[in-house]
Symmetry: C2
Subunit: 293 residues, 2 copies
Amino acid sequence: MSRIAYVNGLYVPHREACVHIEDRGYQFADGVYEVFSLHRGQMIGETGHMERLAHSLSELQIDWPVSRRALSILTREVARRNRVRDGLIYLQITRGVARRDHPFPENAESALVITARRLPALDKQALRSGVGVITLPDIRWKRHDIKSVSLLPNILGKQQAREAGAYEAWLVDDDAMVTEGTSSNAWIVTKDGELVTHNTSQAILNGITRLSVLEAAAEAGVKFSERPFSVEEALSAKEAFITSSTSHVKAVTSIDGKTVGNGHVGELTARMLDLYVEFIEGKGGPSKTDTWN
Amino acid sequence: MSRIAYVNGLYVPHREACVHIEDRGYQFADGVYEVFSLHRGQMIGETGHMERLAHSLSELQIDWPVSRRALSILTREVARRNRVRDGLIYLQITRGVARRDHPFPENAESALVITARRLPALDKQALRSGVGVITLPDIRWKRHDIKSVSLLPNILGKQQAREAGAYEAWLVDDDAMVTEGTSSNAWIVTKDGELVTHNTSQAILNGITRLSVLEAAAEAGVKFSERPFSVEEALSAKEAFITSSTSHVKAVTSIDGKTVGNGHVGELTARMLDLYVEFIEGKGGPSKTDTWN
């Protein structure tokens, strides 16, 4: 079966799916995106994704290409046509096609692309292996709360991580605080068993998995604190992990080559993965989704 | 005559010119560009543009899609097919098409798009009118020396300028220094007649027009200094102007609604426009192009 993509009103074979060279997404990174995770046929955190999308579009003054309700139907239809039960739906909206000029065009119509891709089903056993991260200066622009396709610094960071044999790069701001990873949120567990992750602000993207983990923690009575932490604090932490729609809850066992905790997947990290899976299988995603910056 | 675009080896009608939805330029802003100015059939500062392009590609580890020599021929051919003697050539190179994943793909081939557009011939009389600029915090990523398509903060800044009735926005760093405009370099003339523009560093894009003006100034014995200046200094300056491939040398007569100098196009600004036009008509562009960051 060949993959099908949705592009501006049409379902087309993936290999033929294209956008105009003057789509502002291509020339100006003038667009936003969301990556929805599908778990056993269920879309995880759809409400959260849609609300964050609304925030991104609103901050950039990009119109919805179709109604939110229609978008929800289209994402499901793309998953269905690609027979994806476990995997990802990728959705991108740009300001549309216009003769190249910096200011917002008068008459462009927002462009919409949706694709879906199968992935192996969520495998707790496979997730229960630690990864290494490196730290890099956070050289990104200052509006990380907007999920824009302006991802050049992110890919450069991820590439540096891979070249260093690491899984992810944690980005460090001018105050030596870890903001987040290039495509994940960053977490530590303090010596007294408290979860810590950066508070929502323009400095981070508020991850849907991050929100689910926080809500699952609250329900289970696990202590947590939303605040910045330094690389130094992370290095002396008991445990560390990352969260994202594709990595779920993944243990970090080394930072810049230095061992975190005892070098093995932490006890609370493993528990949070269990709680997270239980949470999404029960509720389908976070219910508290009111803060995007 | 309908416009012709060059896209990955083919000359195609502009309205049908497209790139794949998984071109990394579209999904990650993983690409660079150059805008060449054509004046009376002559490409201005071609060597400078090509050397800056080499810098951008090298910093991002993107391969040349064709040789530099072939690229030079292709740009001319696109101009010829579109019968452009005065106007712009737009050239974009991205890391190419690959399944969406942050790290650099193993086997992607760089993508190349070239377009050309006619513009009214350079009109010194028209350029001799002042414009207003506003100032905004510089929220861009920290590698302004790379001419990437990661331009979202630039278009947001330009849009804010237009909504404020201004022509351009000058971007101000954390030290209250003006780095550059959203698509131009920023200049002032001090009380004692010295030209000042930000020195080359990762904080600015070294404009080809900027280089031509500096070289023309040196030849004519006009004093200049390459250093940062503050908004305060600009407001008490005698004159101000911007340079770019499309605005050439354009007087700035107000900053944030406050008059610069006597509110009219400055004497040295007018002279620099004359010297610049003389310079490009004589030499075709800057000869000193060795510093890109």
